[in-house]
Subunit: 271 residues, 2 copies
């Protein structure tokens, strides 16, 4: 269900009440509609886990062709951390370290990606807002234990993003790789689409809690992992997620890194 | 694929080498067979998350009839934490606080459950072993970042388990509930089946890292969440898991509990 709210909102309270009302309507109507079809369609799918990427598992065996069967919208990266990945309307794009954009062949692979079949439960338009302000408004109205896919289109007076260059073996940690191979882009007056997620704290180690957004300019000349923006006009679409599927990375490197901590610690809580 | 290893193993080294060989054979053969069918069949499915149960979300909206469509093997509990849940060969059983066993109607609901369509990759028989000894042997040979469903059948000289009584509203935390409503069973010379999982540390907050087993006696007269056992003969079946699906608890209580911590903390690691 898509609900358009083409009002010009200036008062924060009005914003909060309106988005709350529309989200609740969207979610309740959606849940009743869900009963007629397989629930998996409203789930996020992800290949590999963020802690593996952080530990240097930079290769995976999932092709982009396979990824597209799991969702038409999302974010991630490519093997060797060769740029930022964004999926919008079923197309996969690579934002390279030099800021250029490529459509990517289905035969290329990803080391980590998070996708969903995007279907907005709520849509609203907001003007003159920074990313930080928008995030605070969304956190104030969206239940903290739920998961959301968020798609935004608009005009950005300023937008700061990055993309990494590809790593070479032996792979370092992601932090060390980004320290040397992260290229920053300071964009001005750019029109484009933002894809990403708002995820809860309990998904830590597997995905990124909080907001995580990638950008693709409409002219396909810039993009990247978003650090900050100021938007003059923004259409925000929010899609509440019913759950998620994690497919473990089948590359041999996945079993070689040390992810394991506190095994058995959790069990003590229920004994 | 089921591989039977009916040897009498006495030396630890022999045990380790043999299980390693059989597991590797099982997994490689399984992966090539998986390509012909949807990969979801080899995934664990879970309804709700462990941190919600710990925080007192003791009700859920998933019926046992729905749960059975997600797997024929697994563990969990029922609404109100009314006993321990075990699924084996497609049947759902309740181990009540008084130690009695019930088959449960499909219309009952669960607040949390973890299930899979069980298909052993490896099977071995081992004699005269405690749970602690068995877990140490398995941890020594199974890659720590992977996930496993584990089914065991045998004769237990001793087995200690528990089952909780149902909670009443307002629900306390699980820890507080178990402190008052946990009933211990010290079983002797019992034959039955153990169902459970070995899960990695990164699944913390969502599920229970490490080993987690429930028991059902063959005569359906005892069972429960296992604390310890000594087995005289045990057939151990291990099923490597490709990934997992988490369906968020749709009960209204899920949005009311405070699970949220360290939002945005993780994002800092990749910026």
């Amino acid at each position: 269900m898509i609900t358009y709210l083409p009002l010009r909102i200036s008062k924060p309270l009005g914003f909060l009440l309106t988005i709350t009302t529309y989200l609740l309507q969207g979610c309740s109507q959606k849940q009743s509609a869900e009963t007629a079809k397989p629930p998996v369609s409203d789930f996020m799918y992800q290949y590999s886990i963020i802690d593996a990427l952080l530990a240097g598992v930079f290769d995976g065996n999932l092709t982009l062709g396979q990824l597209k069967t799991k969702g038409d919208f999302g974010i991630g990266t490519f093997n060797r951390v060769d740029g930022e990945l964004i999926v919008d309307q079923g197309n996969v794009y690579k934002i390279r370290y030099d800021g250029s954009i490529q459509e990517v062949p289905d035969t290329d692979s990803t080391s980590i990606a998070f996708v969903k079949f995007f279907k907005a439960d709520s849509t609203f338009i907001i003007k003159n807002i920074t990313l930080d302000e928008l995030e605070k408004k969304l956190l104030a109205v969206l239940p903290a234990n739920e998961m959301y896919a968020i798609r935004m289109k608009g005009h950005f007076e300023k937008l700061t993003s990055r993309a990494p260059g590809a790593a070479r073996k032996p792979y370092p940690s992601l932090k060390d790789h980004l320290a040397k191979q992260q290229h920053l882009f300071n964009l001005s007056n750019t029109d484009g689409v933002v894809a990403g997620f708002l995820l809860p704290g309990y998904i830590a180690k597997v995905n990124v809690p909080g907001f995580h957004f990638h950008y693709l300019a409409n002219d396909h000349k810039s993009g990247g992992h978003i650090f900050d923006f100021t938007a003059t006009e923004l259409t925000v679409e929010i899609d509440k997620i019913q759950g998620y599927t994690v497919e473990l990375n089948t590359h041999a490197d996945f079993d070689k890194v040390g992810l394991e901590k506190d095994r058995q610690e959790e069990l003590k809580k229920i004994e």
